[in-house]
């Protein structure tokens, strides 16, 4: 909890900053643990259950530790009609994880999201902030391979 204090200190204690606080803590810690929720509740002087109530409403927040790489499959309209379902199947087959799951090595977390706003490049996925578009099976497998090789993990960082 001590680690989230400096993060929270930049916000004033007005309740309207609660969502921002949750975002900042998640950015820092990767997810929102029970302990973090108690810490945030204390900071805003509200019951922890209220914090939990708010965070569970929004899809952005995670209650479990994610993998090193978070793969978001865009399932916006354009991606959907261009085969995002197949993309999801192929990733599930390759990495053996489904929506909301993290693989046993803690490398990948898979989730399906609403639109990423890159509809003209459908179908697209987003891995840790980097977007890959116009995917077919071959291209997708190539992308996954680059993240599976630990030696080349440098290629992954977000540069949106």
């Amino acid at each position: 909890m001590s680690t989230i204090k400096p993060v929270l200190a930049q916000l004033d204690k007005d309740r309207s900053n609660l969502i921002r606080a949750l975002q900042l803590v998640q950015e820092e810690e990767g997810y929102l643990s029970d302990q973090n929720i108690r810490g945030i509740a204390e900071y805003f002087a509200i019951p922890p259950v209220e914090v939990e109530g708010v965070l569970s409403f929004y899809t952005q927040f995670r209650r479990t530790r994610p993998g090193k790489y978070i793969i978001s499959i865009c399932d916006g309209t354009a991606c959907h009609i261009k085969g995002s379902k197949l993309i999801a199947t192929w990733i599930a087959d390759e990495l053996n994880i489904h929506h909301g799951e993290t693989d046993s090595q803690g490398l990948f977390t898979l989730k399906t999201v609403a639109c990423l706003g890159c509809c003209s490049l459908a179908p697209v996925i987003n891995i840790n902030g980097k977007i890959f578009g116009n995917l077919n099976r071959k291209k997708l497998m190539k992308v996954l391979k680059t993240y599976q090789q630990p030696a080349r993990s440098g290629s992954s960082d977000s540069n949106d």
């Binding site: 309209t77 261009k82 087959d93 609403a114 003209s120 949106d160």
Partner: protein
């Protein structure tokens, strides 16, 4: 003779590899300046480079981060030139998006060098009531979807005689398939902020808030930078009144596009809508009178002030004025952003601007999950708020997805309903449970277990959900089902009676067939199949097969195809 190079690095461009191209050019071009700009709307050609020369601009498409490509660009070679489709120039009317991709989004000086903040200074010399009069005269209606008169909204907020008032910019572009607001925020953040400042002056608002989707990090960054430039130059000082401007990121909930839900979210609460009245202009953010306008609405304001409401109203139809930006995607050639005058026909957008081929288009989905599917035979409809409504669709925020002949309309309707079911906040019973029950029926049809009576059930429950939901999400959630039932009923009936999906999309009604006579036995399909459903002698076990299509994609001779279940080919 080359003045400078401009590379489009909006989200679409970056996804197509513009980041690498930009870095490469930045590092390897010494002679002239290389600058990153926003989107020019021609997404199909990304990454795009504009070469500014003394004789005008030359554009390059599908740029690569290589020395060879760089040399071609520097020498103004003919290779990979981007020639804008002529038809598109003819139908497009660029006003709001004029500066998009033309200027560096985060340079206030470049914006000022164009028409930047001229409208604001003009507005500051006018009285608040005169500004509102211009906006009313322009006939501008909210670009977020519902189409409420912007001037009337402003007037309402203006009439509240309290010290503190709030204006919120709705930048929670949640409709899947829409990216107009993202592009505007990434490319011309100052134009939006100028519109907001004018609104603040005209209505007496003291606080400006922007509620932006968390999924748009680049837009947030550009807006933040623009806000800090405004504050540094004291442009937020409106005739002696200092206005605060803040940006807040949403956390991923579609329903927060609804105004009362958005206010709750901004207050740090669950984003559930509430009953109106009281309307936000009476009781909004933290109890203060509050007005919410959409990003594109604000981007229109500087134009209205500069040219006057009467001039603005010359374009459009009798009840819908000005231009509208659409995000074109799906089954067409020229995907991207287009700005067109109200009153243009759907067909002109899809065929002439989008370059879609007539025989291949089945319908368009307009207005996102709250909108409807309009079949190709109605494409001569003029685009305005009211005529789209009469077809069962809505203008929405401007997402326009072209649906090709090879897409299944039942599956498309299921997709939208699945979205709204998941995004329902749970407050109203019909939206929470009604959508779920409809989704179950549609899934039953897709599995091949439907009965004709299910269609009546869907229509009945759809109409009830529309009536018994508090906010726009629930009220419009049945739209995709009701419109597809209205226009594509035979597709539903075929799923139910013949147990067939004509376009071979719905997996439960499809088998995978390998034509052994034409097979060259290369083994690729066997190797690729993730569930080992293909035997060594090239027979597919359709019991094991998950219809993942891997083998269909990988077969070099294209002898593996999808066929109707029960072995009916084609």
């Amino acid at each position: 003779m080359i003045k400078r190079l401009k590379i489009g690095i909006g989200s679409c461009g970056l996804a197509a590899g513009a980041g690498e191209v930009f870095d490469f050019f930045k590092n390897n071009v010494q002679q002239v300046e290389v600058v990153g700009v926003g989107c020019i709307g021609h997404c199909y050609a990304e990454p795009i480079i504009e070469v500014e020369t003394e004789k005008g601009s030359v554009f390059y498409q599908k740029a690569q981060p290589t020395t060879a490509f760089l040399e071609k660009v520097i020498n103004l070679h003919e290779y990979s030139r981007l020639i804008f489709p002529e038809e598109r120039n003819k139908y497009e009317l660029v006003k709001v998006t004029k500066l998009m991709g033309r200027i560096n989004p985060v340079s206030i000086d470049e914006y000022l060098a164009q028409v930047g903040y001229q409208a604001l200074s003009k507005a500051l010399s006018m009285s608040a009531t005169d500004i509102i009069k211009e906006v009313k005269q322009s006939g501008l209606r909210g670009r977020g979807g519902a189409g409420f008169s912007t001037g009337t909204k402003w007037e309402l907020l203006h009439s509240k005689s309290v010290k503190e008032k709030v204006i919120i910019c709705n930048a929670d572009e949640g409709d899947p398939g829409a990216f107009m607001d993202r592009s505007l925020m990434e490319s011309i953040p100052h134009q939006i902020l100028e519109g907001m400042l004018i609104a603040a002056y005209a209505t007496g608002a003291t606080q400006l808030l922007i509620y932006c989707r968390a999924e748009y990090p680049l837009a947030v960054r550009h807006l933040k930078k623009a806000i800090s430039q405004i504050i540094a130059r004291k442009l937020n000082n409106l005739n002696g009144y200092e206005i605060s401007i803040k940006i807040k990121e949403g956390a991923g909930a579609f329903v927060c596009g609804e105004e009362t839900a958005m206010i709750h979210s901004l207050e740090g609460k669950r984003g559930t809508p509430r009953f109106r009245p009281p309307y936000p202009t009476d009781y909004g953010y933290k109890g203060l009178p509050t007005m919410i306008n959409n990003v594109e609405t604000f981007a229109n304001i500087p134009i209205i002030i500069n040219e006057g409401g009467r001039e603005f109203a010359r374009i459009g139809t009798s009840k819908s004025k000005g231009t509208k930006i659409f995000a074109l995607a799906g089954d067409l050639k020229y995907t991207g952003l287009v700005e067109v005058p109200m009153g243009i026909t759907l067909g002109e957008i899809v065929y002439q601007i989008g370059g879609a081929e007539k025989e291949q288009v089945k319908a368009v989905q307009i207005g996102g999950p709250s909108g409807g599917c309009i079949p190709a035979e109605f494409f001569d409809v003029q685009i305005d708020y009211d005529s789209l409504k009469s077809l069962g669709a809505i203008m929405g925020s401007g997402g326009l997805i072209v649906i090709g002949q090879d897409r299944c309309m039942v599956e498309t309707a299921r997709y939208f309903l699945d979205f709204t079911t998941r995004e329902s906040c749970g407050k109203c019973t019909f939206c929470r449970i009604g959508t779920k029950r409809m989704l179950e029926r549609i899934e039953k049809i897709i599995r091949g277990q439907g009965e004709l009576d299910d269609l009546n059930f869907l229509e009945d429950l759809g109409q009830k959900t529309t009536k018994a939901s508090l906010c726009g999400l629930g009220q419009s959630a049945p739209n995709p089902i009701l419109t597809t039932l209205r226009y594509f009923r035979t597709e539903y009936e075929n799923h139910i009676v013949k147990k067939q999906c004509q376009v071979l999309v719905c997996n439960a009604l499809v088998e995978i067939y390998l034509d052994q006579e034409k097979c060259i036995e290369c083994g690729l399909c066997i190797k690729t199949c993730p569930v080992n459903a293909i035997s060594d002698d090239y027979v597919i076990d359709n019991e094991i097969c998950t219809r993942c299509n891997s083998c269909v994609e990988v077969c070099p001779k294209k002898v593996i195809t999808r066929i109707h279940g029960g072995g009916v080919r084609g």
